[in-house]
Amino acid sequence: MKNIKVLGGCCGNCDTVMKMIETQAKNLGVEVALEKVTDMATILGLGVMSTPGVVIDGKVVHSGSVPAPSKIDAWLKG
């Protein structure tokens, strides 16, 4: 079970990322606990200034853009 957080406030990009991860996790049959983080203090506390960001099992793996589907695949499989 992977613990995944999507960081971001507005823009709508963050919702896109949530959906992408959800769909791909379903397709790959990977179990995930997906959570959206909008609180700025938490986001900055993780060292991220540009959203959307992605955190997997407590580790920041991405920030500043909607990640490529291939990247999401790699995170989910890894």
């Binding site: 823009c11 700025m40 900055l44 991220v48 200034m49 793996v61 920030s63 500043g64 853009s65």
Partner: protein, 321 residues
């Protein structure tokens, strides 16, 4: 040199539809087609090219670059970086907090916030190609100066107490710099993603801007502007600035409007003041800033900029009259 965008507009309006471009409808349509083709082409191209290099300019990196520098270095650096990094306005808040947290003075942070929406490479290139290089340079230099002066004033007034208290309590983790796209293929994919996301966010505003520009170009007689917006009318500049405050538009979407106004003989200063006011001050921007600063500082921020833009307007109208 043949201008391909003008060529396209000529072809469609004159040849295909048989319209007279000196008439209202033909003129407006010609303006609309030429500007739509030109602005969207340039927008996509520039965003893509910048996207290729964007990974070198992440906000985390900008923060590191400015942090710990003395003011004499930090101000020009903040204003310059604000100009070359067109972050989405959503990133204003994390940037603001991240900057202050890194010990960057409030004034420097504000300089960055002023310069960033007003000047960006997209607006500059489109300005240069549709209005002219001189006007583009004027816009950039003035915008940088306003950003610098605005930040210095806010610094001098010691307004730190008007920053929301929680902001000072946030502790930023050691920026775990995300891995940057390494291969050119990855960079191109990232850049293409940027083009899509920026176009998705801007297309409507750009169309509205072009629509207004085309309408002014085709349907509003020159006399209207000579009567109400000439340099002789002392109220034209403040009115332009006031009108621009609530209006939300990216610097890019205002360009067609500016282009039409200049062609109708509206003085340079008035047009500059209107453009800057629309780009730098807007309701959404104020609502966003409200999350991190108290109303007093927002009022000061809007006040300083409005006064600065009015000065810009009068100043250039005076110089060019």
């Amino acid at each position: 040199m043949i201008d391909p965008f003008k060529f396209l507009a000529d072809l469609l309006t004159i040849r295909l539809l048989g319209l007279d471009v000196t008439q209202s409808l033909g003129g407006a349509l010609h303006f609309f087609i030429e500007d739509t083709a030109k602005i969207f082409f340039l927008l996509a191209l520039i965003v893509f090219v910048i996207g290729l290099f964007r990974s070198m300019m992440s906000p985390e990196r900008v923060r590191k670059l400015i942090g710990g520098k003395r003011r004499i270095v930090a101000y020009p650096a903040a204003v310059g970086l604000g100009a070359v990094t067109p972050f989405c306005s959503c990133s204003s808040i994390p940037l603001f907090i991240g900057f202050l947290e890194a010990g960057i003075p409030l004034g420097v942070t504000m300089s960055f916030l002023i310069a960033s929406p007003m000047i960006n490479e997209i607006a500059v290139i489109i300005l240069a190609s549709s209005i002219g290089l001189e006007f583009a340079v004027l816009y950039v230099v003035t915008g940088l100066t306003v950003g610098l002066i605005g930040g210095l004033l806010i610094d001098g007034m010691k307004l730190e107490r008007y920053v929301e208290d929680y902001v000072w309590k946030i502790h930023m983790g050691e920026a775990a710099l995300p891995e940057h796209p390494e291969s050119w293929a990855e960079r191109a994919a990232y850049a293409w993603g940027e083009v899509k996301s920026i176009l998705k966010r801007l297309w409507l505003y750009v169309f509205i801007g072009i629509g207004i520009g085309a309408f002014l170009h085709g349907y509003v007689p020159q006399e209207f502007f000579t009567q109400y917006a000439s340099a002789d009318n002392p109220f034209a500049v403040p009115l332009a600035v006031l009108m621009g405050i609530p209006l939300y538009g990216s610097a890019t979407s205002v360009i067609p409007v500016a282009e039409a106004l200049l062609a109708k003989g509206v003085p340079v200063g008035t047009v500059l003041a209107l453009m800057m006011s629309i780009a730098a001050l807007s309701l959404p921007e104020v609502i966003m800033l409200k999350q991190v600063i108290k109303p007093q500082l927002i009022a000061i921020f809007v006040g300083i900029l409005a006064v600065a833009f009015i000065f810009v307007g009068y100043g250039f109208n005076f110089i060019f009259s």
